[in-house]
């Protein structure tokens, strides 16, 4: 684009008829603003600007793409789906009965192989699928006031159907989100040595500090007819219930991961990690998958090649366009501002081809 600050045309024609200035004349006062003659830059798409625009985009995008692709490639990720495998084969016909029964042993042991060296911290996620945490009924089913402060304990509006316990007292924390808190647990061990999982600082500091009060303790939680998920330690204030805080930051998409903890030791390639899973959470009723994810991180986040690929593609396309336009302008130049291209100057037939 051609940036030219054209100096506003001078005022000679505008003031010519003001030779006889009158008192109280209605003549508009001259100003560049009112005469729409403010200095302005008027960009136009010259070949130079077009080519350099494409070239610049290409030149910026390709390195970014390469960098993010590289970063993404360096992230080591172990994903293990266990929702089916953790049900004894004999009971797989009726998963729902298995998960809903109080008697069945839900412990399950999985063995994971570390594909590459993993630098600490290694994040432990659980991934749920087909779980619409973004459903409107679900998203709204919470009360932020109640979570914030003890004095708002009775604020249970919009929490139905998990607002009040059967005795009529308010449930703290109320609502479907809290009620459906994820309750699988994982214990990691590396060659029979327990791998400590740090469950602190997995939630946002801002949430802990301001949204979940340190004087709010769980009450009447999971006391209804239907147990939705995890129970909470009634002696710990909500601000310290980090699993709850993470859970209550509802996911944007029906497939989502949530941070469960951090392993703060490096892992080496081909090490075998044993995970003992308490498979409590019922995703079988809606056919949701459960996965355990161990992942390192990079500046780009988790393992996701999309950004890198997209940047590379767009950058490449722009470079290609830049080159094509260079050729094009050589092959078929159109002089800019050539009056012979004006519709009333050109032969009408000329436009047909």
């Amino acid at each position: 684009m051609n940036l030219k600050a054209t100096a506003a045309s001078s005022t000679s024609d505008g003031t010519s008829d003001s030779s006889a200035p009158r008192r109280n004349s209605k003549k508009p006062k001259y100003s560049r603003f009112t005469q729409q003659e403010l200095p302005a830059c008027k960009p136009i798409l010259t070949p130079g600007w077009v080519i350099s625009t494409f070239a610049v985009v290409g030149i910026i995008f390709i390195p970014i793409g390469l960098a993010s692709l590289f970063a993404s490639q360096r992230v080591v990720e172990i994903v293990d789906r266990y929702d089916i495998d953790c049900i004894p084969e004999t009971l797989r016909n009726d998963k729902l009965a298995f998960i809903q029964s109080r008697e069945t042993n839900k412990t399950c042991t999985r063995s994971l192989t570390v594909p590459m060296d993993m630098k600490s911290p290694i994040y432990v996620y659980y991934e749920l699928d087909n779980f619409y945490q973004n459903h409107r009924r679900y998203v709204k089913s919470r009360n932020d006031k109640q979570l914030q402060s003890k004095k708002n304990e009775n604020e249970t509006s919009s929490c139905d159907p998990e607002a009040n316990a059967s005795n009529g007292l308010p449930i703290v924390p109320c609502g479907l989100i809290a009620w459906s808190l994820f309750n699988d647990t994982y214990r990691f061990s590396l060659s029979s040595k327990v791998l400590e999982v740090n469950k602190k600082n997995i939630a946002w500091k801002s949430d802990q500090g301001h949204k979940f009060g340190d004087d709010v303790y769980p009450k009447n939680f999971q006391s209804g007819g239907l147990i939705g998920g995890a129970k909470l330690n009634a002696s710990k204030p909500l601000s310290e219930q980090e699993d709850l805080i993470v859970w209550m930051r509802t996911a944007a998409l029906p497939t989502f991961r949530k941070l469960w903890g951090k392993i703060e030791v490096d892992l080496e390639a081909n090490e075998q990690i044993t995970v003992v899973i308490q498979n409590n959470y019922n995703t079988y009723s809606f056919g949701g998958k459960k996965k355990l994810v161990l992942s390192t991180t990079s500046w780009i986040g988790g393992k996701n090649d999309f950004l890198g690929v997209a940047y590379l593609t767009v950058g490449g396309l722009c470079l290609f366009l830049a080159i094509s336009f260079i050729l094009l302008y050589f092959a078929r130049p159109r002089p800019l501002g050539d009056p012979s291209f004006l519709s009333w100057n050109s032969d009408p037939a000329g436009h047909m081809n």
Partner: protein, 1326 residues
């Protein structure tokens, strides 16, 4: 020609149409209700006389006039000529009456907005244009029904006013007091009434419905307060605006109501506030006071009961009008004496040119008419006092009844916009249906799990499973229905309601710049451009037809005495180029007499001055003397003498001069009187009894025995005066057509004196022909001595006629005929109505821009043609088609012949073309014939697609074919007169005229009545989709101005009536060029882009939400916070669109003015059309997909929460739409930068604020996001990927299919030599 004369003079008495036309005793000339029919008939006669070249019956025949012994081309053989002569006053005149049934007239009437006053059978047109060419130019000609008296007496419900008995008057009837209220509200009614008025807008109802829906618990998509925010916002803003306006009205009302006037109370006039005045009271007005209510005049300071009033506030005419008190009441002593009487008048109506009433006074019953009332708002002038009785007060006064606003117009673009809004509604419906259907299917699929589904949980489990109480579940069907409704709430901004508010603001800003444009300021009248209508700014960029009035619009309507033919000799005032001020020439000869200083100065012919100052009494000298005496005496001009000090450059000292200002109803008369004064015949004093003329320093007191005012039947006026030496003369001046028939008869080849007078007559006629072909307005002056017998007979009849109560004007006309015969020709005058500055250039530019300029004038044909030539409307190489028909059949034949001769395609063929054009939806309209080398202007804009180019080329081929058959490339000019239009503007001939007129380069309509002007506009408007613009300055243009798509008023000499009815008003015709080519172009580009952009802006947002909803099990969740959703169109993105809509401009005004053809972009609808809409929608779809899917893929399998995602989407969409806008901005000024980038910054600021409130679930989101590079990279990627196709498209289009505007823009910016562009385009415009 003499062959016609005896016929006429003999038939004059017998066939005077008096019996058929009892007209009210009005001093304003009145004539029949079929005025245009009748007058057109007589005008046709004039046309014949003044040697026009017409087509009659298809074969123009040149015949030699026997008497004139001079070859003139008359359009028909002599038989037809005699036929034509007859109608003037007699047979055909009545014949027309019979032929022209009332229904037709009513139909004609219904074109305009002029009142069709259906009180019994009386109706009227205000201000026909007939007077224009005559002396009484601006005189309102009105007429009443034949059954004037009957109609009134049969009026069922007359208003009874007991004079000076307000109690009795107001007891029986509920008349309003004189308090006026223009304000709409009081403090108590403000809120409900204002809300009521506001909710008349569909937009607000839509807002309300959405907000109401959101209040229902199952549908509460947004928080309740949030959803009310947009509605409350617009309501409050509008209410504040309305409240302020109303407060100002209250203030002015209060001021008006508390003014004081003298009211008769128990025999004395005491001051009383206006608001206390009641109907029936007697009020006294002193000089220069404003009249507080509509009153019937009872008496004035003038013994004859004359009062002069200025009606500036009412109809805007600045001249004085005379009003009369009835003779019966003038002598009454008001103060002290008791007066009583009863006035029966019609119910209040808004017709200011009519008043029907009668009065019982002292046992007499006298009729009252419009000339007997003075109206509220007028000012009393030149009369010491006037006393009247209040008949209408307050809201019932004509001024108040007339103060309603003119009907609002809607722009063409807005109509298209509404069509596209319907499409958007369809999209909205489809999206909602998809969501609802998806919801239904999803519920059906999961119906077994719903009870326990963690994110749905249909039932309570409080008291065990047995209690099946459901939570917010209303059954499948209802859920689908609610889902539909709640998706309407989420997608509500798909219908861009905010666009209507944005457009209003943008137009306001555009109007500001138009008003402030220094180059549309007229210094002579100190008037700026005015925008009276804010709805149609963008229509100015698409005007295809301009209908222009002539007098006062193309011309200045400042009459200047130019030439005189005296005694057969031509005298010409030197033109302005050799400017000799009055003093220079005259000072040497008559310094001592130089007492009278005129406000306008006139150049005099020195030869003529010499002749006048010669002492010897020759024939020439006498003729000249009488000639100027007639000019000075035979008129209705009132001299107003004012003392003032003036420094004369001759005396080089201060001395007192008496300046004379002539006030009169007709500018022509004023010009003549001023001219007479310049030649030493200064009119000093005029009363009803005598006239004083200063003849070269000597005061000549002439006794005024009688005066026959101008009327449009006689087309002349005369005065009978007695000279100091007791000689009595009748002095006559009038239109040439009416004067030559009443000249003294001369037998050819008789004695030498007669031969001389024959020669003079021929010479004068030659001069008249010459004058009118130069575009001058002509009058013939004649006089004769009256013998005592003639005088006696006349005086007797005159007395009787002027005091008669019935048919006064008819009787007066008969009386006039007694003396207006056998006159001696003195000479003729020529008055120039000067062309305004820059008119030819403006017309030429408009024509190059592809705008057809049609001139509709009340003038006669030759004047119209000559003006047409002088303003370059007509050129010599044009083929003139002249249609002058006197019957329907004749007109039909003339039209058919013309069409056959020039090979004009019949209507059907063209219609087919039109239809096809419509199908392609480009509505390509042919460019007028001025592009002779290339007849078709190609839409070079690639956006419009190939089909259109094809369509255009088809049209061009057909046009070429038509041309070939029609033999000629010569541009055609159609000249048609009002008489023919009477027949043609019937349904069956209208298409013919339309075909013919649209094939002509120029159309000139002469002698058209106001409603015919509107009819011509309607002819185009009803048959094409082309935009029409009407421009005029007088009341006779009002109907045309209101009929046209865009009405432009010229604030000129003829008052403000046209301005009041117009959408835009300006001082000069030439500003039209700048208005259309520059501001029209800009406004069209701006608004066109604004609309498309707003559609895009809202749709991209809604589509993004829609894609997300598909990922939330159709549950209408919005990832965006409520406030962001609401702020999006109100705060985040609204300001840049408004700024760009006001400030952006593609080309500088210089380029636009230099290349008028760039205006064609508006004709081709390049800025807004259906194709552009669909392209924009496809682009929108792409951009919304990018917006949605890039974050989706980027954050797939991550732990991103819904609010972070929403935050990302919010900022992405705001950045995207603003960068999109930035890409299209053509002119970056500081404000644009601030608005565009500021919006993005403001959005961030809002999000930071919203995310800092712990009560919101989205607390702290933005802080977390901003730390991650992925967030920023995602935004960058979205912006680039979303805009890449658009940018590519733009580049390709500009490279391969550049539009005219773009090329001009490149030339303007790169070369900085705009002239180079002009080398070619101008060559084919001649």
């Amino acid at each position: 020609m003499t062959s016609g004369q005896p016929l006429l003079s003999s038939s004059f008495h017998a066939s005077d149409p008096s019996s058929g036309f009892p007209t009210p005793p009005s001093n304003i000339s009145s004539f029949s209700c079929l005025c245009h029919t009748a007058s057109s008939a007589s005008s046709n006669f004039e046309d014949a006389l003044s040697h026009s070249i017409d087509i009659k019956d298809g074969d123009p025949v040149a015949i030699e006039d026997k008497v004139c012994s001079q070859t003139i081309a008359v359009e028909s053989d002599s038989a037809v000529t005699t036929d034509q002569f007859q109608p003037v006053d007699s047979q055909l005149f009545q014949q027309f009456l019979l032929e022209c049934p009332r229904q037709e007239v009513k139909r004609v009437l219904s074109w305009g907005t002029m009142e069709v006053h259906n009180n019994s059978t009386s109706f009227e047109i205000s201000g026909t244009s007939l007077g224009q060419e005559k002396l009484n130019k601006s005189q309102r000609i009105h007429h009443k029904s034949m059954q004037f008296e009957d109609a009134f007496s049969s009026e069922e419900n007359p208003r009874l006013i007991y004079i000076n008995d307000p109690r009795r008057t107001n007891d029986k009837y509920e008349f309003t007091g004189n308090e006026i209220r223009t304000s709409k509200y009081t403090i108590i009614t403000f809120l409900p009434k204002n809300l009521f008025i506001q909710f008349h807008r569909v937009a607000y109802l839509y807002f309300l419905a959405i907000a109401a829906l959101n209040q229902l618990p199952p549908l509460a998509v947004f928080g309740r307060t949030v959803s009310l925010f947009p509605l409350l916002f617009v309501l409050v803003v509008t209410a504040i605006k309305d409240g302020y306006e109303d407060w100002r009205r209250h203030r002015s009302d209060r001021k008006e109501n508390n003014r004081e006037a003298r009211v008769l109370q128990s025999g004395r006039f005491v001051m009383k506030k206006w608001k206390k005045i009641r109907a029936g009271e007697v009020v006294k007005i002193c000089v220069d006071e404003t009249i507080p209510c509509d009153m019937v005049l009872l008496g004035t300071s003038d013994p004859n009961g004359i009062a002069y009033i200025q009606t500036m506030n009412l109809d805007g005419e600045s001249n004085l009008k005379t009003r009369y008190a009835r003779q019966e009441t003038t002598s009454t002593d008001f103060e002290g004496g008791t007066i009583s009487g009863l006035i029966r008048c019609e119910q209040p109506n808004r017709n200011i040119y009519e008043f029907t009433a009668n009065m019982e006074f002292n046992g007499h019953r006298v009729p009252l008419s419009q000339s007997n009332i003075i109206l509220r708002g007028c000012q009393l002038k030149n009369t010491d006092w006037a006393v009247g009785v209040v008949v209408y007060a307050g809201q019932e006064t004509k001024a108040m009844l007339n103060s309603t606003a003119s009907p609002s117009k809607r722009s063409k673009l807005e109509n298209y916009m509404n069509r596209e809004t319907m499409w958007l509604s369809v999209f909205l419906f489809v999206m909602c249906a998809v969501v609802a259907l998806g919801m239904g299917l999803w519920l059906e699929r999961h119906k077994d799990q719903l009870d326990t589904l963690p994110y749905y949980r249909r039932i309570y489990f409080k008291n065990g499973l047995d209690n099946r109480k459901t939570y917010k579940y209303y059954g499948l069907v209802m859920e689908i229905f609610f889902s539909f409704l709640s998706s309407i709430i989420v997608f509500q901004i798909m219908i861009p309601i905010s666009l209507y508010i944005t457009m209003e603001l943008v137009r306001l800003g555009q109007s500001y710049f138009m008003i402030e444009d220094a180059q549309m300021y007229d210094s002579s009248s100190d008037s700026r451009f005015q925008c009276r209508s804010l709805n149609i700014n963008e229509d100015l960029g698409q005007i295809r037809y301009v209908f222009s009035d002539k007098t006062g619009t193309l011309t200045e309507n400042k009459m200047e005495f130019r030439k005189a033919s005296i005694n057969g000799k031509n005298y010409a005032s030197p033109s302005h180029t050799t400017d000799h001020p009055l003093q220079e020439i005259t000072s040497a000869e008559r310094t001592e007499r130089q007492r009278w200083k005129l406000k306008s100065e006139i150049n005099v012919d020195s030869e003529l001055v010499a002749l006048l100052t010669k002492d010897l009494a020759g024939v020439e000298r006498n003729a000249a003397h009488e000639f100027f005496l007639t000019l000075a005496a035979c008129n209705t001009v009132i001299p107003m003498v004012t003392q003032r000090l003036s420094s004369s450059c001759v005396d080089s000292g201060l001395h007192e001069v008496e300046a004379i200002d002539y006030q009169g109803e007709s500018p022509d008369e004023q010009a003549l009187v001023a001219a007479a004064s310049a030649y030493g015949y200064t009119l000093i004093e005029r009363t009803t009894g005598h006239i004083v003329v200063d003849v070269n320093g000597e005061r000549l007191r002439l006794e005024l025995l009688g005066l026959h005012e101008f009327d449009s039947v006689r087309k002349r006026m005369s005065v009978v005066i007695r000279f100091p030496n007791n000689a009595v003369k009748v002095l006559v001046k009038g239109a040439d057509s009416s004067m030559f028939n009443i000249l003294a008869e001369v037998a050819a080849n008789a004695d030498p004196r007669d031969a001389v007078s024959v020669n003079i007559r021929h010479a004068t006629q030659n001069h008249l022909f010459e004058y009118s072909s130069q575009g001058l307005r002509t009058l013939v002056v004649a006089a004769k001595d009256l013998t005592d017998e003639e005088l006696e007979e006349w005086q007797c009849r005159y007395e009787e006629a002027s005091t008669s109560l019935t048919e006064r004007s008819t009787k007066l006309r008969q009386t006039a005929a007694l003396i207006e015969c056998d006159l001696n020709l003195l000479g003729a005058t020529a008055i120039e109505d000067k062309l305004q500055d820059g008119v030819p250039e403006a017309i030429e530019s408009l024509r190059q821009a592809g705008i057809k300029v049609w001139v509709l004038t009340g003038d006669k044909q030759e004047t119209a043609i000559s003006i047409g030539l002088s303003c370059k409307l007509l050129t010599q190489n044009m083929q003139h088609i002249i249609i002058n028909g006197t019957s329907e059949e004749e007109c039909r034949n003339l039209l058919a012949d013309a069409k056959a001769k020039y090979g004009i395609k019949p209507a059907k063929c063209r219609n087919k073309n039109l239809k096809r054009k419509k199908n392609v939806d480009s509505e390509y309209v042919e460019i007028p014939d001025d592009t002779r080398t290339s007849n078709v202007s190609e839409p070079a804009n690639g956006l419009q697609g190939v089909r259109q180019v094809r369509g255009a080329s088809n049209v061009s081929q057909q046009r070429h074919a038509g041309k070939a058959a029609g033999m000629t490339n010569t541009p055609l000019a159609l000249i048609i007169d009002g008489n023919s239009l009477v027949y043609i503007l019937e349904k069956d001939l209208e298409p013919e005229l339309f075909d013919l007129a649209t094939s002509c380069r120029v159309v000139l309509c002469c002698r058209v009545a106001p409603l015919q002007k509107a009819g011509m506009v309607d002819l185009i408007k009803s048959r094409t989709s082309d935009m029409t613009l009407a421009i005029g300055d007088g009341a006779n243009d009002v109907s045309m101005i209101q009929m046209a798509d865009v009405g432009v008023g010229i604030c000129g000499q003829e008052g403000r009536q046209a301005v009041m009815a117009s959408d835009f008003a300006m001082g000069q015709f030439r500003f039209l060029k700048r208005l259309l080519l520059v501001h029209g172009h800009w406004n069209y580009q701006r608004v066109g882009y604004l609309v498309l952009y707003n559609f895009y802006r809202n749709a991209v947002f809604v589509l993004m939400l829609f894609w997300y909803i598909l990922c939330t099990a159709f549950s209408t969740t919005s990832a965006l916070t409520d406030w962001s959703s609401v702020f999006y169109s109100v705060i985040y993105t609204s300001v840049p669109t408004i700024v760009v809509g006001i400030l952006d401009k593609d080309l500088s005004h210089k380029t636009l003015l230099q290349h008028p053809k760039l205006y064609g972009a508006g004709h081709r609808q390049e800025s807004y059309n259906m194709n552009l809409f669909w392209i924009t929608m496809i682009d929108t779809l792409w951009q919304s997909l990018v917006l949605f899917y890039i974050p989706l893929f980027t954050y797939r399998n991550s732990q991103i929460d819904i609010w972070s995602m929403g935050s990302l989407w919010t900022i992405s969409v705001v950045v995207l739409v603003n960068v999109h806008l930035a890409m299209d901005i053509q002119r970056w000024v500081l404000i644009t930068h601030i608005a565009t980038w500021g919006s993005i910054i403001i959005t961030y600021a809002c999000m930071v604020i919203l995310d800092s409130i712990p009560a919101f679930p989205n607390y702290w989101t933005i802080y977390h996001l901003a730390l991650s590079p992925t967030y920023w990279l995602t935004i960058l990627l979205i912006t680039i990927v979303a805009l890449l196709p658009r940018f590519l498209f733009k580049v390709m289009q500009q490279t391969f299919w550049p539009s005219d505007i773009q090329i001009a823009r490149e030339a303007e910016i790169l070369r900085k030599l705009p002239n180079q562009l002009g080398l070619k385009p101008d060559q084919d415009s001649s």
